[in-house]
């Protein structure tokens, strides 16, 4: 459940200084560049550049890996599926009906590089963005409704409390002799009961929080909301977008030059 606890971004990290929406746009540019090709060269080059940025997050690699393991598992899963499913070229290894071919290896490498190169920018954004700055920027620059942005922000604050609720509910069940035992059915039932109990707790907390927010004028109509903090787009934010665009174009150019670039619908 520790995945639920938001990462506290280091405000002094180089990447933390950019406007959150500029970072999101930059991640979007990388994604577009990678959706236009199926080759392994473009994502490999971009992934290399992205990895160079990891120290600029101010978060240690170990922490980042611990928080993003589901992604790594997912990329590995996609790779294995491609290894097995894609046929063609030489057979490298076989076991009964399972066959690993050279085309399969190529596909697995390309797809997993792509997944990682698209996802890593998103992780860099999350790891370097204070959720409140993100909400401010989304409201001020992209005109997201304040009700939605700050409502979600407040809900985010409840997540660590929910992780605690989860632990307490499972203890309470054990204290009453309701631990799941050894059978998988028992585990499933205990899990369902626990999810329900935590949901009830979440709703109650949510209602209390909503009352407290309403008591402070949140969601009131009539007075236009003001902003205590500015999230301006500065020159460095535009440089971030220009640099990202240049990097994507350069990686694509290299890929085209070596003859690897391959659009999906060709």
């Amino acid at each position: 459940m520790s995945v639920l606890v938001p990462l506290a971004p280091n405000p002094d990290a180089a990447l933390a200084r950019f406007n959150p929406v500029a970072k999101i746009a930059a991640a979007g540019i990388v994604m577009v560049g990678l959706l236009l090709t199926l080759d392994p060269v473009t994502p490999a080059l971009l992934l290399g550049l992205e990895l160079l940025l990891v120290p600029a997050t101010g978060v240690s690699v170990a922490v980042l890996a611990r928080r993003t393991w589901p992604l790594l598992v997912g990329a590995a899963g996609v790779a294995v599926a491609n290894l097995i499913v894609v046929d063609g070229g030489e057979t490298l290894w076989s076991l009964g009906p399972l066959e690993v071919t050279s085309d399969g290896v190529d596909a697995a490498v390309a797809v997993s590089l792509r997944v990682l190169a698209i996802a890593l920018p998103g992780i860099l954004v999350l790891a370097t963005t204070n959720p409140m700055d993100l909400a401010d920027a989304l409201v001020q620059r992209w005109h997201l409704p304040a009700r939605f942005a700050y409502g979600a922000l407040a809900a985010l604050r409840l997540l660590p409390l929910l992780a605690n609720d989860w632990a307490q509910v499972s203890r309470a069940r054990r204290a009453r002799g309701l631990d799941p035992g050894r059978s998988p059915v028992g585990h499933l039932r205990a899990f369902a009961a626990q999810v329900l109990a935590v949901l009830v707790a979440a709703v109650r907390r949510g209602v209390r929080l909503a009352t407290a927010m309403e008591a402070r004028g949140f969601g009131a109509t009539g007075v236009p909301r003001t902003m205590a903090r500015e999230q301006p787009l500065l020159a460095r934010d535009w440089w971030l977008l220009a640099g990202t665009t240049a990097a994507v174009l350069a990686a694509t150019a290299v890929s085209v030059a070596v003859g690897a670039w391959r659009p999906p619908f060709a």
Binding site: S2, A8, N130, P131, M132, Y150, L153, A154, R157, L158, P160, L161, D165, Q168, V169, R171, A172, R173, R174, A175, R176, G177, L178, D179, G181, A193, A197, V200, A201, R204, R205, R208, L209, T211, A212, M213, E214, A215, R216, G217, F218, G219, A220, V223, P224, R225, T226, M227, A228, R229
Partner: protein, 449 residues
């Protein structure tokens, strides 16, 4: 103004109405009107500020200053004015840290002060305080009381205060109003007059009237028995945390004794209690059951016991009673433990009925536990913990939210358990409970931050 009344008199509902937060479209029935400065309370919301019991779910932002600014932004205060008003409000409540302090790292008392600053910054003419000291340790209560006195003095605002333990705030009040359940005002006057004329009746109805406490010292009837559970150098640290949530602590629990575990919020009392109940694996040290508890064989540390072995030997009352609700009716809550421990349905049912009767929950036997009031849930959670007649009871704030009558009933129940040879470990801020029951008090100290 102190707003008094027995449990269920509608105190919190009246506060919500004054804050303009009652939505007529949600109401089954609504009569009468609440006017602030001659306008309907719903239209005059900006004149009132409501502070609630649980600061943890009242804070919206991650940083203290941003949280205070939140209300000002919602009310459309000009950006240039916001930060001066934030600083002013933080100073008014004596907030000890800067605007950048992380709200999640604050103690309960500090969080409640911050929540108060968030309201004070809005400069309400009417402050509504709904049991704002209930979750706090004695130091936190003192802190909030001081701040209230300052703020009321400097702003000239009116405050309406609902508080369970009236003596915490009675010094602030110039007027006391007693609500009559079912409608109407029973008494209205200075606190001295109201407590003088109505004190006996209020106390009989369960209101904690200053100077009329039900406190009766219940001594143990037998000398302490053998050790039941022994914790040695028990230590706990959350994964990835930089400091211990519980510093190494020794604690023995003997049969026929009541040990009170006290100390400020954050000292690790609840953590130690969970470890002593076998529900938390200590990071260091060990909690072991002693032979008198008849531990299952082969012997192993308490945290590795099966639930079925725990339920018949150790009963636990959790800090938040909602965490321990596992069934859909109040009566099922009480029968499930004994049945898991191997009792027949008839025996489990008889025990359940006895506890329901004793703790004033009989009329709620078929109700969904989630629909109970806070005080009722607390009593239910104590009842579920003792339903299997365990040798050890570990209870985190067992008297929370009780009126003076149900409080006395709980103390009786716990004292009877002790007389029957049970070892009680009571985590509590309730000094009256400690005076009434504790044979030994262990005071934990705050860990350095």
């Amino acid at each position: 103004m102190l707003l008094l009344g027995r449990s269920g008199a509608g105190k919190s509902t009246l506060l919500a109405a004054l804050a303009g937060l009652l939505d007529p479209s949600d109401a089954g029935e609504q009569e009468g009107a609440v006017l602030l400065d001659g306008r309907a309370a719903r239209e005059a919301r900006a004149r009132a500020g409501l502070v609630l019991q649980d600061p943890e779910s009242a804070l919206v932002m991650g940083r203290a200053g941003d949280d205070v600014a939140f209300g000002l932004e919602n009310r459309g205060v000009a950006p240039a004015e916001i930060w001066p008003r934030v600083d002013e409000a933080l100073a008014a409540v004596g907030f000890p840290y800067g605007r950048d302090a992380a709200t999640s790292a604050l103690s309960g008392g500090e969080q409640q002060r911050l929540a108060l600053a968030g309201i004070v910054a809005l400069r309400p003419g009417l402050l509504l305080l709904d049991e704002v000291t209930a979750n706090l340790d004695p130091a936190g209560v003192a802190l909030v009381r001081e701040v209230l006195a300052d703020v009321l003095g400097s702003t000239g605002a009116t405050a309406v205060i609902v508080e369970h333990r009236v003596e915490q705030v009675v010094g602030l009040a110039t007027r006391a109003v007693v609500l009559e359940p079912g409608g109407g005002v029973l008494a209205d006057g200075s606190p001295a007059e109201v407590f003088g004329s109505q004190g006996a009746g209020l106390a009989a109805a369960g209101v904690w009237v200053p100077g009329r406490h039900p406190a009766v010292r219940r001594e143990a009837t037998a000398p302490a028995g053998p050790d039941l559970v022994r914790g040695q150098a028990v230590r706990f640290r959350y994964p990835a945390a930089s400091r211990d949530a519980l510093a190494p602590t020794d604690l023995d629990l003997r049969a026929g004794t009541a040990v009170a575990l006290t100390g400020p919020n954050g000292a690790g009392k609840s953590t130690l209690a969970l470890a002593m109940a076998g529900l938390l694996r200590p990071t260091g040290g060990e909690v072991r059951a002693q032979p008198a508890l008849d531990p299952p064989q082969p012997p192993r540390p308490l945290w590795r016991w099966r639930g079925r072995d725990l339920v018949s030997r150790i009963g636990t009352v959790f800090q938040d009673p909602e965490h321990q609700i596992v069934t859909a009716t109040v009566r099922d809550e009480l029968t499930i433990g004994p049945r898991r421990a191997g009792a027949t349905d008839a025996a489990a049912g008889a025990r359940a009925d006895e506890l329901l009767e004793r703790l004033g929950l009989a009329r709620l036997a078929g109700a969904n536990p989630h629909t109970l009031s806070g005080g009722e849930k607390r009593r239910l959670s104590v009842a579920t913990a003792v339903a299997t007649s365990p040798r050890v009871v570990v209870a985190d704030e067992p008297t929370f939210g009780q009126d003076s009558r149900t409080w006395a009933e709980l103390v009786e129940l716990l004292a009877d358990l002790r007389d029957a040879g049970c070892g009680l470990l009571l985590v509590t801020h309730d000094e009256t409970l400690v005076e009434a029951l504790a044979d030994r008090t262990v005071t934990m100290t705050s860990l350095p931050r």
